[in-house]
């Protein structure tokens, strides 16, 4: 064994002791990691000297480590036990770390869940419950209104049916009245036509009578002394009436009641 290997062996034993009592020495994670690497990596790239170890510890930690190392100098170090112990320590450290990390994750998750639940409660208290109440009221109100509307519609339907019935009745009455009026009108028209015909006939009769009266009014008058026979007088009267009718058609209106006919000569200066 060389001096270096003896020194290294001592450093290894010190390193092992430090690692074993890392909690007691209050090593930080970085210190623990660095010393663990020095202990396990023995490829010559790492400095496993006492000095190297001391650089990774605080003076107090190194002092306490040396005291502890000295106190443990009476008891021989059993390499296999030491190795097992270090393994155990590393595993325990990892487990602790891992366990702490899981706890942190669980705690975070729990906090998140707790906060979410809080938010949900807040939301439920300030939003969901009022909204639910509003929805409930609206639903009840709506149902009530729908029922009201349905009832109103039913009433309107009933009234409409009643009105339709009345309307049909009135229409039938009006139709009957119209038919009756039409019959009365037709009858009245017939009566008016008959009256018109009667009036026209009467007017014609009046006209004929008027003509006869007019002719009588201007008929020839033969004096008592006339020498004309009755027969000739009648013929002359008929001829005179026809001649008067001829003139009346030209627009003549008789103006004298009668015309005296005389066969006597009134003198040479008279009209003839």
């Amino acid at each position: 064994m060389t001096a270096r290997s003896k020194a290294s062996d001592g450093a290894s034993r010190l390193l092992s002791l430090i690692l074993e009592h890392h909690a007691e020495l209050e090593l930080t994670d970085s210190q623990l990691g660095a010393l663990t690497r020095i202990y396990w990596v023995d490829d010559g790239s790492t400095d496993r000297s006492i000095e190297s170890i001391s650089r990774r510890l605080s003076p107090e930690q190194f002092h306490r480590a040396l005291v502890r190392f000295a106190e443990s100098g009476t008891a021989p170090l059993e390499t296999p036990n030491t190795v097992d112990s270090v393994d155990h320590l590393v595993a325990a450290s990892l487990e602790t770390r891992t366990k702490d990390r899981d706890l942190v994750e669980i705690e975070v998750a729990a906090k998140v869940a707790e906060r979410m639940i809080g938010w949900a409660r807040t939301f439920g208290f300030f939003v969901a419950i009022p909204a639910g109440l509003i929805l409930l009221i609206a639903t009840l109100f709506g149902l009530s209104k729908v029922e009201d509307v349905r009832n109103a519609a039913s009433r309107v339907d009933a009234k409409l049916r009643e009105a339709e019935g009345k309307l049909e009745t009135e229409v039938i009455k009006a139709q009957r009245a119209s038919d009756r009026a039409r019959q009365i009108l037709a009858s009245a028209n017939e009566q008016i036509t008959a009256v018109q015909v009667r009036l026209e006939n009467q007017a014609q009769q009046l006209s004929t009578l008027d003509q006869k009266v007019t002719k009588i009014a201007e008929s020839l008058s033969f004096g008592q002394a006339t020498d004309l026979s009755k027969e000739l007088q009648q013929q002359l009267k008929q001829r005179a009436a026809a001649f008067l009718d001829y003139f009346e058609k030209l627009g003549y209106a008789p103006k004298t009641p009668s015309i005296n006919v005389s066969t006597k000569d009134n003198g040479s200066d008279s009209l003839s």
């Binding site: 002359l236 005179a240 026809a242 001649f243 008067l244 003139f247 030209l250 627009g251 003549y252 004298t256």
Partner: protein, 169 residues
Amino acid sequence: MLREYSHHILYSSLSFDALSSWASLVSLVPIEYGLANYFPASFLNDPHLGALAAHTLKYDQPYLFNLDNGNRVSSLVVTDYALAGSLQDAWGGLFWQLRQKLGQSAADRLLYDTWRAQPDESNDLIGHRFVTNLLSKAQTQLGMSSKSAVEEILIRRGLKPSDLATPHR
């Protein structure tokens, strides 16, 4: 008798009393006489009047008046009854010729309407007024062509164109 009845109708159809001033309206006589002959002849549809009287009075001709003649109206102004009596046949013939030209209905109405529209004029205007009224009514009642026909007959019957113009007092 119809002729005498015509005298009554014609004078009573005027708007004035012609008989009261008959002596001063001599120019009206031949026209009135002509119409008094024309209307019975038109009514009987025979231009010969007085057949019974002519037979009874033993006339040389079988009628008293013949409207189917060619006599001319020599003057519209008449101052004595002798001329009035001679012109009555000319006016009657003129009216009958109008009837032959225009037809009975149109001629009868034209002559009667012209007569009863005759105004109360002085003697020198009576005939002239009757002629111009006759032309005016022929135009309004029957049209321009009938008026021309009446004018032609009047001229043919001896009236002068100046007689056909509207008289001015």
